[in-house]
């Protein structure tokens, strides 16, 4: 049913709110990609089955005609605590159940839905302490959710629920109570900066598009999140798609644009599905399309699916890809604000940036700018991964220290001591302990000054068993493969740097290799055409800066201090510890271990393929990696 005016929006909002209140209990099952992979949809269906078999009225969709009390059963967006998935939240108590299995469903319904007790064994515990409520869990405690406030708290596929919790009121405000200038001023004063990596002031960007005289303009949302390990944008598109749409509608109003495109990678099928549904629902309700809420303002959004090229996250490559051309960045000027999509003035922001727009419009610039340090307002979402105890999606105020993120929220380093953190994806840098980076404030400017970047917000924690040369090599391999191939420094240069890094990890490196890497990095950084090339060598440059000893160990001593580079390590048997049981010799696939029973065995290094099977097999820790 179409909502024709803004008064009608208020009316339906109250209806939906009432309907939501009638759901005396709600079960929110995380339906983000991670938990879905863990079986959360099966859990959802199982609970539905159980509820139905017990004749408990359950709403999978919000019923807005008046009805009796019921239990709401919802597929929500990502709760963030992915390490502990599948996650299930019971409202209104705010209980969070972790690592839920299908077998647990019966008990959950029995105890928490029919009864009023938590299932204790499913509650998160740390250091022997049980945390019943999600908000009390250390992982959540230090977080501030602004962009992701609805993720995990409402049904991700329901426009009604989104409206019920206040959705589209920012759109209403922008359309009826604000001029383009007002909106731009609000966003500028809030200090919102692009969350996609560059950190360009969003208000300024909108202003640049606003002043363009062209009649046709575009609002483009960059959902081409390509950093390995990053999933902030995906989570938002899957978990709160209407938030993104709202941000785009408001950007449209601010710049007098009437068409939007969401560029989302085809590898995010769930995001595509939820966004498509959200767009269809919004159109049906009249919140997209002609004359939204009778404001006279038209705005519609299309989805354009990318084919998975990392470089298509770059603005001009992205617009080229939407146009149906090869996704290759072009030289600037002219900038996207002047000649973007279809050569028309274009606002291009990433998903998270749009996600911040609605709360700023509702709560005001002052509220937003009070979060975070100067010039770095607001919150930022990070995908916390790697050797950290609590991986997942987090949102913290800008300026939170790395230490808080890794140790308080992330629960500390897994499998060893903290060594480094790689931030900002393949174009980001590595930060380390020695340089005092742990106390560093996570914001655009501080990170930049340390030779890293916030990027889109990938945060990979590494323990002391990580070889930093290998890390650099890994990322260089990624960028080398993902370079579009257009400009020489990036295409040929990254290939050469990778070649040199391969030499180093395989034991062929020399000091000249290091010199050449630095020389090449200099050219790649300064001479490349687009951001991908300009930042491609950050992982190498930063690791060479902070872990130079490790590089030197590789090229001079031919040793990998972390014991990771196969070519640089040897397996030997400590004759003191070896009992001569022959177990190692029996598991060795290469026949490299020989010896007499009850006497120390020996590894023939020329035959050894360094698979480590002997080490795993030895009961006496006699096999050593040197």
């Amino acid at each position: 049913m179409r909502i024709n005016t803004f008064d009608e929006l208020n009316v339906v909002r109250n209806e939906y709110k009432k309907a939501l209140e009638l759901q005396k209990k709600q079960i929110l099952i995380c339906a983000g990609t991670g938990c879905v992979a863990g079986g959360s949809l099966v859990i959802h269906d199982r609970i539905k089955e159980i509820l139905e078999s017990k004749n408990i009225k359950c709403d999978v969709v919000l019923q807005h005609e008046s009805h009796d009390e019921s239990v709401g059963l919802k597929k929500s967006g990502c709760h963030g605590f992915c390490e502990m998935g599948p996650l299930l939240r019971i409202e209104p108590m705010g209980w969070l159940y972790v690592k839920v299995k299908v077998e647990d469903c019966e008990e959950i319904v029995e105890k928490s839905i029919i009864g009023n007790d938590p299932v204790e064994r499913l509650v998160y515990s740390e250091d022997g302490k049980l945390y019943f409520k999600q908000e009390d869990i250390p992982f959540y405690k230090k977080q501030t959710r602004v962009a992701f406030e609805h993720c995990g708290h409402i049904n991700a596929e329901s426009i009604e629920e989104y409206i019920a919790v206040g959705g589209y009121s920012a759109t209403k405000k922008a359309l009826f109570d604000m001029t383009s200038e007002d909106i731009i001023k609000e966003i500028s004063e809030a200090g919102l900066r692009g969350r996609g990596g560059g950190g360009f002031p969003t208000g300024k960007k909108w202003q640049q598009v606003y002043i363009q005289q062209e009649e046709e303009k575009y609002i483009v949302c960059n959902g081409d999140e390509g950093d390995p390990g990053a999933f902030m944008d995906r989570s938002m598109m899957e978990g709160d798609p209407h938030r993104v749409l709202e941000g785009m509608i408001i950007a449209g109003k601010a710049t007098n644009a009437h068409n939007g495109y969401i560029y989302v990678r085809a590898e995010y099928p769930l995001a595509v599905k939820r966004l498509s549904k959200a767009i269809d629902d919004a159109r049906e309700k009249g919140l997209l399309g002609k004359n939204i809420l009778n404001s006279g303002f038209d705005f519609d959004i299309n989805i354009s699916q990318g084919a998975g090229a990392f470089v298509c996250g770059e603005g001009s490559a992205l617009t080229a890809s939407i146009e149906g051309n090869r996704g290759m960045p072009r030289v600037k000027p002219p900038r996207t604000a002047e000649h973007g999509l279809f050569y028309k003035p274009t606002v291009l922001n990433n998903v998270e940036t749009y996600g911040n727009v609605a709360p700023i419009i509702i709560n005001g610039a002052k509220w937003y700018s009070e979060m975070g340090p100067e010039n770095n307002s607001g919150t930022k979402a990070f995908a916390l991964t790697g050797n950290v105890n609590h991986t997942g999606l987090i949102e913290v105020p800008m300026g939170t220290s790395l230490k808080e993120v890794i140790f308080d929220i992330g629960g500390g380093v897994k499998g060893g001591e903290f060594k480094a953190v790689q931030i900002g994806g393949p174009s980001g840098g590595c930060l380390c302990l020695d340089a005092g980076h742990l106390d560093m404030s996570l914001d655009f400017d501080t990170l930049k000054s340390a030779g890293a970047m916030i990027g889109s917000g990938g945060l990979v924690v590494m323990n002391d068993k990580t070889c930093m040369v290998e890390v650099a090599r890994f990322f260089m391999n990624f960028t080398q493969n993902e370079s579009c191939g257009k400009c020489v420094p990036c295409r040929e240069g990254t290939k050469r740097v990778l070649e040199l890094l391969n030499d180093i990890v395989e034991g062929r490196g020399t000091m000249e290799h290091l010199e050449l890497i630095e020389e090449l990095s200099d050219t790649i950084k300064n001479a490349s055409l687009c951001g991908l090339g300009k930042t491609a060598t950050l992982p190498v440059v930063s690791t060479m800066k902070y872990f130079r000893d490790e590089y030197i160990a590789h090229v001079v001593d031919k040793k990998c201090p972390a014991g990771q580079c196969k070519a640089l390590l040897n397996y030997v048997i400590d004759p003191e510890l070896c009992k001569g049981c022959s177990k190692c010799s029996r598991v060795c696939p290469a026949g490299a271990i020989t010896g007499e029973i009850r006497k120390p065995f020996v590894i023939d290094t020329s035959k050894c393929i360094k698979c480590g099977a002997c080490m795993d097999a030895c009961n006496f820790d006699a096999v050593k990696r040197v």
Binding site: V331, C484, G485, C487, E492, R496, E499, H513, A527, L529
Partner: protein, 568 residues
Amino acid sequence: MSKYMIIDGIRVEFDKEKNILELVRKAGIELPTFCYYSELSIYGACRMCMVEDMKGNIIASCSEPPRDKMEIRTNTAMLHHHRKMIIRLLLASHDRDCTVCEKSGKCKLQELALRFGLHEVDFPGGNTNNKIHEIDKSSRAVIRDPNKCVLCGDCVRMCSEVQNVGAIDFAHRGSKMIVSPAFGKNLGETNCVNCGQCAAVCPTGAITVRSDTKELWKAIYNPNKRVVAQIAPAVRVALGEEFGLEPGTDVIGKIVSVMRRLGFDEVFDTSMGADLTVMEESREFLQKLKKGDREYPLFTSCCPAWIRYCETKHPDLMKYVSSCKSPMSMFGSVIKKYYEENVDDEREIVSVAVMPCTAKKMEAARDEFNIDGIRDVDIVITTQELSRMIKEIGIRFDEVEAESSDMPFALFSGAGVIFGVTGGVTEAVMRRVYEDGSSKVLREIEYTGVRGMEGVKEFTIPYGDENLRIGVVSGLANAEKLIEKIKNKEERFDLVEVMACPGGCVSGAGQPETMFANKAKRASGLYRSDKVSQFKCSQENPVVTKLYSDLLKNREKELLHVHYHYNK
């Protein structure tokens, strides 16, 4: 006050320059580039044209508009390092068979390696060009060797932007990127029009014009073959460049002479063939006018690349394309017939055409261009190939005395000569249509707007009681725009001349490689030759008159016209 920039401390004023690079060159600094052509869109991929501003920012000068009072440097330690590194990187993955490369001596990469004094590839991985890409010899016009490609994209942009063909584009990513026809097909299997402009802009040997000189030498040295050649109008004003002469210098006499010394038995001038084309095309045009069939224009048919374009993109328009063969093929069939019927010689006739054009190689090989199995033209070589043949033998071109072409076809009109420049065919046809060779009328035609190197010329000329709408385009993208207007009924024309190469045949891909300015000089060269020609109009050429009363009598259709049967 005029605007200016400070480049390496020197004040350089600017006005219409679109980018800093043009200004740097204006300042007398030859900044190296691979991917910059003023005729093409800015690509910015080679990064050689970098300059540094006073804040130490590095800017690609090709894409940056000049700003008043901006100060830049083109020569700093950093820039030097980066430029050299880029050349090193390119060399490290480039084919190294320089000595036997078609482009050797004319290769931009080779030139820059020399300029930067690079004599070794100093990466530990060495040269990584493993020649994994197959050499594509499927096209009649060009040979594609992706192993020699530096991925500057000039060919891609030329093909799509100037020619609107898009037969080649980039495929794959990163260091695996190549320029290739879609789906890895061979060029010969695509809609490529064989214009060869991709080869003309290629800085290396990745796309080169197919050479047919080997076959030609064989024929020349074969005592059982009589090798008869014709030389296209545009060749005379360009070949001299290869031997240090000013662009536009008419060296037809020297060419005739030198070709005899190379071993050609007879040497003729295609301008004579062009005169026949004028006669036929004018007749066709007048007939069309008389019929009142004026919704669509008569399109000219001299350019084989245009024919191919029309066949592939606008097959519905083929019925409006003149049925005249090109001057080369008309002359080719006349030559073959002449020897067959009039000359008692046991030897087999080998008909050779020296052309500014690569598409002519394709035209000569087309099924339609033979009479009872006898090909109109057997071998087509380009201006460049001829220059190479001369160099191969070692004849000092500058010392060669001019000679005139052979009888019985030695006479030709100025109308035939100007076929080599855009608008030339139209002007020649008009001279015939007006049937008034007075200098007053000639001048009137000249000033209608038919001349000039612009890509699109539209004008109206009076004819009897009415006005004729004429369109002259060069560059197939320009043709496309005109066709669109015609199809949308926004414009109506009576005659449309299309030449695929921008500026006409003088800019053909078989010509010596050069900048656009030289092409305009070649065009002026042709107009000068027209000025001094004995006959201005084709109908005045006595050879033409003789042919019509003799050899061509009742055989015009058989010998001078063609029906294309394009089969996708």
